[in-house]
Symmetry: C2
Subunit: 215 residues, 2 copies
């Protein structure tokens, strides 16, 4: 693959990140603004280069119609990534969500971005949701392990759901139990730690829909 210049790689990353956080592609003027260019033509030059080198595709003459054709040059902190460490799309990963909800959280809570692999699709963002990196073994009996990513959706829990709850300023994964007529409570899914938590004044941040484990 042809090498990108510093600037080109910055532009590419911006495009990717913009779509990753907003859900639609930037316009040329959006890019111009971000880099404080005084002319849109500065952007055009870089886009032409990125296109010629095969990193992006576009529908010419039509607004906000990018395609990322090649893996996005990773911001190489790790130097020796094997030529094929690719995945597909970013979603914000929180190690912890202290006070509130992730949309109110400054990006300090974000410990990285999970990339999920898909063939052809763009994601819709139907629902407020996010990924959470699991620490510890509290859900081991549900087969969720340290290092897995749990995909959380913000909605009201129902009996039997696995939820992300805020306990003592830390977000933890617990099973939500609510038998009819009784007050709900939370329960760790680990035979070694049979803790129970009253549901009072601890906020449930969302319900786990799925988890994803890298191989």
């Amino acid at each position: 693959m042809k090498h990108l210049t510093e600037r080109q790689s910055e532009i590419l990353q911006f495009i990717d990140h913009y779509e990753g956080t907003r859900g639609y592609w930037p316009s040329i003027r959006d890019i111009q603004l971000r880099f404080h260019f005084k002319s849109t033509n500065a952007v055009m030059g870089h886009l032409r280069a990125l296109e010629k080198k095969g990193y992006i595709g576009r529908i010419h003459g039509q607004a906000r119609t990018f395609r990322l054709l090649h893996r996005v040059a990773p911001s190489n902190d790790e130097k020796d990534m094997p030529e094929d460490a690719i995945e597909l799309k970013e979603l914000p990963v929180y190690g912890n969500i202290a006070a509130g909800y992730p949309d109110q959280v400054e990006s300090g809570g974000e410990i990285g971005r999970l990339q999920v692999d898909v063939q052809t699709a763009g994601f819709s963002r139907s629902q407020r949701s996010f990924a959470l990196k699991v620490r510890g073994e509290s859900m081991i009996d549900a087969d969720i392990r340290d290092g897995d990513f749990v995909i959380i959706e913000q909605r009201e829990p129902r009996d039997g759901d696995i939820v992300a709850a805020l306990i003592d300023g830390e977000t933890t994964l617990k099973r939500f139990i609510q038998k009819s007529g009784e007050p709900p409570y939370l329960k760790a899914e680990n035979a070694a730690f049979p803790e129970l938590y009253p549901i009072n004044d601890l906020s449930v941040q969302g319900v786990a829909k799925a988890f994803l484990r890298s191989l």
Copy 2:
């Protein structure tokens, strides 16, 4: 959630699907064209309705900047989907990939579409990849179970990779073993079935990068 009319639901589905296959959102005239409206204003009406009912969001005045806020009305074949069966984006799921590779496969091989949950993101389509629904317990020792979705990326396997391979016309998941100097072979990850497969003339269709299990 407010109910959508037939037409509104069609529009919503089109928007979702358009983004799902193209990677960017449709313009109002794109929608107009699809439904053979003679006026763009027909679209506007439906968009206003969808917006008012909370299904979509947009940046007004800016092209192709949709957001799907709520679950997309599922094309209800199953009638009684619980009100909240949401995830986020389609990627093709193959139950089996007979002869070749998924891009050469007619859509008959596609048994559904996996939806993956992401906060805000669109996916890049950096790499040929797809999801495969796991049948059977052949990878149980790697903790991959019947019903899980494995995300496959098309690339050359290396020693220790879990690969999707074509054996007897069926795609199966196996561990790829290649010790230096020796010919490579495949191995099931289930103590009960310690089968070995020679790598000769059976095609490896891709390497498993991750798996996803719905909760």
